[in-house]
């Protein structure tokens, strides 16, 4: 990303990062999470060039607080998180709206309609309403970039934190983006004490709530004149569209061009709604359709506004546009056609005799988690017990799928250990929880302390592969390196577990299946005797990293192959292990050489001894 005024193909998230740099952001923080990850990832890769401070924090609350502190020190700051990440940071968000900010402070909330890689759908614009924080929503990569700069200016001018809301489709779309020069008034942070503002004792908080309310009024004034809102056409039938919905609406109107004239309001400043602008738009309308992704956020506000202003406009929204899932061009097209009373031909679904096979994501070939899960099953069988498997958010959630099926619960970051405290007490079964090391640091430590404080007997297996692998291998506290590539002291889960008071604590290598299985079996005995919680750290680098190191010659993997003479085609290896490097071909199984990490699991599973080392 250079500074000339050229046009580059940019991911929505990269465009946001670029906007931050153009807008003079000096501090950026995040905990990785799809679909927000690439924002801070991009900034981390540019930290040296632009002299930025960038960090992967242990969780979103911490990320929010580090960036907020920078803003308190009059620096411009950005923090980015996925929608559910803002739940973690929400405690601080609500009060930050009271304290206000100093340097421009943007919170990017990347929502995930359709839960492409999340546990729920959540419309975080509502956080703005609830927390007294302005929200804006871009409709293209170009706007995403430009609106970050705009948001920083508004935030600094009105002293408010501001939420830039995106959705997966915008975060992950690539489009042309025209660059602007970078503003570089490099500042040194300076903190001016203001306890009457920054100490939220009740007496201060009551006053500050009033300030927050009046700040919002001022922001609304600014939003009334924002050039990111746009009105086109003057028909009595109108469409109001927010964010990406605007892009769908424009295309739908192109298709319907010959039928009708519609006037359209692109609303980019979604909270507080610019009432004057809306009043001007609504006052001569007969009918209006509001198109927005997820909740009827604008719809409810507009309905209230019409009532207040005595406007007799027929308002449509979620009656014609789906409430759940991601918006699609079809859905928007249908909605607009129906408010126009136009009959449209939608493509008929062709009848197919065969279907594409379901292809859910699965654990990678050689993933150490597969071995650990397999060992859990072996140990449980060996000890002949019934077990429950709470788990968490990360690659290992994929252990849910057959043939492993060792994930019984997944709610949100850290919930697995918290649930285990309860399940161990109330279920009468053996509880074996799994959690990645990154999630462990993120949200499991208080629950682990709880398991000692209010004793519960379960096994926690920390699946430590040295990275936050799910989101693309950001360093975690065990990696020994941070976002800016500095060497740092690794923080080890076993040290933390011991410090929490865990007495049974073992570290194993999951590629050593026997040792891993017997440690788990031992832990089962231990918790059965009611001696307290047991923690096992199953440590082995993510196999994608192993393969990468192998390809660049840093390490040498010894791979497995199937002897076609011995292979009977029983598929036991695939059915027991499910490694994607095992491919059925002409009645037998072959191992895709480029994928195999040589972990040896399939060799153990093959009843005909057909799998062995590559000589």
């Amino acid at each position: 990303m250079d500074d000339s005024q050229e046009v580059l193909l940019m991911l929505g998230n990269e465009a946001i990062a670029r906007g931050a740099i153009e807008g003079g952001v000096q501090v950026a923080t995040a905990y990785p999470g799809t679909p927000s990850t690439e924002i801070v990832e991009t900034l981390a890769s540019l930290a040296k060039d632009y002299d930025l401070y960038v960090e992967w924090s242990v969780n979103e609350k911490v990320a929010f607080e580090v960036a907020l502190a920078a803003s308190y020190c009059e620096l411009r700051a950005l923090t980015a998180m996925k929608h559910v990440g803002l739940n973690v940071a929400s405690d601080t968000l609500f009060t930050a709206a009271y304290t206000g900010v100093r340097g421009g402070f943007v919170v990017v909330s990347a929502d995930d309609p359709n839960c492409h890689s999340s546990q729920n759908e959540q419309d975080n614009r509502i956080y703005g309403l609830h927390a007294y924080v302005p929200v804006i929503e871009p409709s293209s990569p170009q706007e995403a970039k430009d609106m970050v700069t705009y948001a920083l200016d508004i935030s600094e001018h009105h002293k408010v934190p501001i939420i830039l809301r995106t959705t997966t489709r915008l975060s992950h779309v690539r489009g042309p983006v025209k660059l602007n020069p970078v503003r570089r008034p490099k500042k040194v942070g300076s903190f001016i004490k203001a306890p009457e503002r920054l100490v939220c004792l009740p007496a201060n908080a009551r006053r500050m709530r009033l300030e927050a309310i009046s700040r919002l009024k001022n922001v609304e004034e600014t939003f009334n004149h924002s050039s990111f809102n746009l009105v086109k056409g003057s028909s009595r039938i109108g469409v109001i569209a927010c964010g990406l919905a605007y892009a769908y609406a424009v295309e739908a109107l192109e298709r319907l061009q010959d039928h009708h004239n519609v006037s359209i309001l692109k609303l980019s400043t979604v909270y507080p709604i610019p009432r004057k602008l809306l009043n001007d738009f609504l006052k001569d309308k007969e009918k209006v359709l509001i198109i927005e992704e997820l909740e009827p956020f604008i719809e409810l506000q507009v309905k209230a506004l019409c009532h207040e202003l005595n406007l007799e406009v027929e308002i449509h929204g979620k009656d014609l546009i789906p409430l759940a899932g991601e918006l699609t061009p079809q859905a928007v097209f249908k909605g607009i056609a129906s408010i126009l009373g136009v009959k449209v031909e939608l493509p008929k679904n062709i009848e197919l005799k065969s279907q594409a096979p379901p292809r859910p994501p699965i654990l990678c070939a050689g993933c150490p988690h597969r071995n650990t899960f397999y060992a859990i099953k072996l140990a449980v069988r060996k000890k002949n017990v019934e077990a429950i498997y709470p788990s968490d958010i990360g690659c290992y959630t994929l252990g849910y799928y057959p043939p492993l099926e060792v994930v019984d619960t997944t709610l949100c970051m850290g919930a697995g250990v918290g649930l285990s405290c309860g399940l161990a007490k109330f279920s009468g079964k053996i509880v074996i929880a799994t959690v990645g090391e990154s999630t462990f640091f993120h949200a499991c430590i208080p629950a682990l302390i709880n398991s000692v404080f209010n004793p519960s007997n379960f096994i926690l297996i920390v699946l430590d592969n040295s990275f936050t692998a799910m989101t693309g291998h950001q360093p975690s506290p065990v990696t020994g390196m941070n976002a800016m590539g500095q060497k740092v002291k690794p923080v080890l889960p076993e040290d933390i577990a011991k410090a929490c008071g865990i007495e049974f604590c073992k570290v194993v290598d999951p590629y050593d299946l026997d040792a891993t299985t017997s440690s788990i079996a031992e832990a089962i005995d231990y918790i059965k005797r009611g001696l307290g919680p047991a923690v096992i750290i199953a440590r082995r680098e993510c196999s994608l990293i192993l393969l990468r190191k192998h390809r660049s010659g840093i390490i040498k993997l010894i791979r497995r192959r199937v002897d076609p003479e011995l292979c009977k085609g029983c598929l036991a290896c695939i059915k027991l292990v499910g490694c994607p490097a095992l491919i059925p071909r002409s009645g037998k199984v072959v191992i895709e050489e480029e994928m195999c990490s040589g972990c040896g699991l399939c060799e153990r599973a093959c009843p005909h001894k057909a799998i062995g080392l590559v000589e």
Binding site: L9, R174, Q330, P584
Partner: protein
């Protein structure tokens, strides 16, 4: 108004996102507007991946409407079926002949369609179907990672892409370091030959 709407589908790890990004870069070099929309996240772990690419004078929506794609492209044979409902009648199909049944279908005993069955289904919509053996071409080049560039060559050779060969070459050169760039360019050229043979 000129425009080509493309839906790419394949398996995580096949380099579908790289392929899509190269299309996007080439489009910008040819002064078109473009949107490349990728579905990733968990998909990189061997899951199904779909990418929408729209190239033309003016694009606003990042997604292709069902039944309106000018071209669908599958990097694995059965993935053609996943994208088929996007294709407009008489549109173009480019598909890799590689068959890669997912392990889950084995475990659950689900049926995996044969290449012939797949083509039969596709014929309900169009006769313009290019089946190319990208797997073996990539293999002969010594890198299975180039399957995507072989497919790109084949896509270009259909003449439907709007993009100039020169811009695609430039986009490929920009996307890889040497010596990978050279192998990928080679793969692109081989992909063109595959379709030229079918024409």
């Amino acid at each position: 108004m000129m425009r080509v709407d493309i839906v790419l589908s394949g398996i995580g790890g096949q380099g579908i996102l790289t392929l899509a990004a190269i299309l996007g870069t080439a489009a910008i070099l040819d002064k078109y507007d473009v949107r490349v929309s990728e579905v990733h996240g968990m998909a990189q772990r061997g899951g199904a991946v779909t990418c929408h690419v729209k190239i033309g004078d003016k694009i606003s929506s990042p997604l292709v409407m069902e039944g309106s794609a000018d071209m669908i492209v599958a990097l694995e044979a059965s993935e053609t079926l996943r994208a088929l409902h996007y294709l407009k009648p008489k549109g173009t199909i480019v598909t890799n002949s590689l068959e890669h049944p997912p392990p889950l279908s084995m475990i659950k005993g689900l049926k995996y369609p044969s290449l012939n069955e797949i083509i039969e289904e596709a014929k309900k919509l169009t006769d313009e179907i290019y089946v190319v053996d990208a797997y073996n071409v990539a293999r002969s080049l010594g890198s299975l990672q180039t399957i995507n560039m072989v497919i790109l060559g084949s896509m270009w050779a259909t003449g439907k892409l709007l993009l100039s060969r020169g811009s695609i070459v430039k986009a490929i050169e920009r996307s890889f370091r040497e010596p990978t760039a050279t192998i990928n360019l080679k793969a692109f050229e081989e992909g063109i030959k595959l379709v030229k043979k079918l024409l």
